[in-house]
Structures are given as structure tokens and as C-alpha cells.
């Protein structure tokens, strides 16, 4: 029997390397999900990890850091938030 494939749909799974089953402490949504303002998980809604090793959806953290009350501190440990350089 000869089969002709006329359509092929790729399905794959992915997750961020950082603690897959954890949630973002700010929005309480899993890291593999999106922050509340995004529709598509993945590169459109990346994670950001601090020197202190605390991770958040980047959009969630930026929203916090733009508030005056944040004083630039990590919401978890209250150290100055600096993005970790790999």
C-alpha cells in the first residue's frame, strides 16, 4: 500500500528550564503559562531570573519594578533585583 502524506502537523511539548512546576510568585500562574497580559507562552512571554536566583515572568517583574513602592527590589528576597548573567 502506498500512502501519500499531504499534510503534517508537528506537535511538541516544551518548558522553561527553570523549575517547571513552579508558579510565578507575582501572578501565581505556572512559569510555562503566560503572564496575565500575554496570550502565547514561550518566547513571547519569557522568564527573567535574578542574581538572587528568583524567577518571574518577565512582564510581571517589570510591572512590579516600575511601581514606586518596589524600590527596585526582588519581591521574594528584597535584594536589589539584577538580572543574572549566564
Amino acid at each position: 500500500m502506498k500512502v501519500t502524506i499531504d499534510k503534517w502537523i508537528g506537535v511538541s511539548t516544551w518548558h522553561w528550564n527553570h523549575a517547571q512546576d513552579e508558579v510565578c510568585g507575582i501572578c501565581r500562574v505556572a512559569f510555562d503559562g503566560t503572564c496575565p497580559t500575554c496570550k502565547y507562552p514561550g518566547d513571547d512571554c519569557p522568564l527573567i531570573i535574578g542574581e538572587c536566583k528568583h524567577a518571574f515572568h518577565m512582564h510581571c517583574l517589570l510591572k512590579w519594578l516600575t511601581t514606586e513602592s518596589s524600590k527596585g527590589l526582588c519581591p521574594m528576597c528584597r535584594r536589589r533585583f539584577k538580572t543574572a548573567t549566564e
Binding site: G25, I26, C27, R28, V29, C35, P36, T37, C60, K63, W64, T67, S69, L73, P75, M76, R78
Partner: protein, 221 residues
């Protein structure tokens, strides 16, 4: 939208953990920004046995701004207004972080009952009482827990409001001192009003020096 989703998750988390003794309820399903929280008075404190109700308003930009909380149940505590229930607690003000939750905030209130910070008071009168006469303070706090929070088999909830209140116990004011001054021709009502305003709880032996003079001075104004 994101706020609603987070609040829903928080309500669920509280329900999933009945051991914590914390309750959260939405007043009106159409408006999730107004809630009531409940927790038990911590054991080993004058608040033990009481159940405390807290009014919670969630701002539009929650969790980036802290929830607004105040006690509905009257509490006698240096960091809680005895009049309005307003709370002085750093995490509800400048120490707020978006990773904190309503449950975490209520637990912080519970531990605030255990460890008052009288040097940074919300109610200066109560703080003065706490610092100058710890035993008298404890008695008054215990009495309020009984009358307003249902401790010790006292009335609870709304029933407490209609119960007659002993003003001496309520304000931690010494009964004998008031009687002594009543004998000088002042009314009890006026004496208690002035004592509350000046923070004087008693006169005579064991009282602060000059308390009687100060009290009389105020009464004669």
C-alpha cells in the same frame, strides 16, 4: 482580569488548607474586590479564643499594591485603632511585595496580635497603656476579646454589639479612682471621657506621678 484570576486562586488556596484556621469570603459574587477574612486569636495571648473579622478591599492594581485591611472586630492592641480598626503593619504599607497573598497578610495580622510593636503605634492611648501597665493592658485586651471576639464563651459576632459593656473594663480604667473623683462632684461620664482623652487609667497609690493633678486640671478646664 489578572486580578480576578489571582484572587480566585487565593480563595481556592485558603479553602484547600483548612488547617490554617484562616477563612476568606467574598461579600458579593459580583464584586471580588471586597472580602472578609477571619482568623483565630493566637494562643498564649489575651486574644486567645477570639475569632477576628477583617475587612479587605483589593485595589485595582493588586498585587502590585497591597490590599487595604482593617479590623471589623474591635481589638485592644497598640498597632490597631481601638476606634476604627485601622492597622499599622509594614507589609500592608511600604513593605508590601506582590508575592504576598491575602492569606499571608492575615497570618501576619495574627502574629501582630502575638507581638505588638508599641513604639510604632496606631493607637497612642492603647500603646501608652501597654507600656505603662502591662497587666492592666492584658486585662482590658482580654475583656475586649471576650465581649467583641467571642473568647471565653463570651458573646460573638453581631450579638456582642448589643451586650452591655463595662466601661471600666473596656477602657482599662480603675473603678476606685473614678469613684474618688466622683466624690469631688464630677460626673462619671465626664471623668471617663477625660481619662480616656488623657490616657490616665488611675490615680493614687500605684498610679503615675502627678496623674491626679493632671486629671483635675483637665476636669476644671
Amino acid at each position: 482580569m489578572s486580578r480576578a484570576r489571582r484572587i480566585a486562586k487565593e480563595l481556592q488556596a485558603v479553602q484547600d488548607d483548612p488547617q490554617a484556621g484562616i477563612d476568606l469570603e467574598v461579600i458579593n459574587d459580583a464584586d471580588i474586590s471586597h472580602l472578609k477574612g477571619y482568623f483565630d486569636g493566637p494562643s498564649g495571648t489575651p486574644y486567645e479564643g477570639g475569632r477576628y473579622q477583617v475587612d479587605i478591599e483589593i485595589p485595582q492594581d493588586y498585587p502590585f499594591k497591597p490590599p487595604k485591611m482593617k479590623f471589623d472586630t474591635k481589638v485592644y492592641h497598640p498597632n490597631i485603632s481601638s476606634q476604627t480598626g485601622a492597622i499599622c503593619l509594614d507589609i500592608l504599607k511600604d513593605k508590601w511585595s506582590p508575592v504576598l497573598t491575602l492569606k499571608a497578610s492575615l497570618i501576619s495580622l495574627q502574629s501582630l496580635l502575638t507581638t505588638p510593636e508599641p513604639t510604632n503605634p496606631q493607637d497612642a492611648e492603647v500603646a501608652k497603656h501597654y507600656l505603662s501597665d502591662r497587666k492592666g493592658f492584658d486585662n482590658t485586651a482580654k475583656y475586649w476579646a471576650k465581649v467583641y471576639a467571642g473568647a471565653d464563651g463570651g458573646a460573638s459576632g453581631t450579638a456582642a454589639a448589643s451586650k452591655p459593656v463595662d466601661v471600666f473594663e473596656q477602657y482599662g480604667i480603675d473603678r476606685e479612682s473614678v469613684k474618688a473623683i466622683e466624690n469631688m462632684g464630677f460626673t462619671q461620664e465626664r471623668i471617663i471621657e477625660v481619662m480616656r482623652r488623657t490616657g490616665i487609667k488611675k490615680i493614687g497609690p500605684g498610679a503615675q506621678e502627678g496623674a491626679e493633678d493632671r486629671l483635675l486640671e483637665e476636669l476644671l478646664k
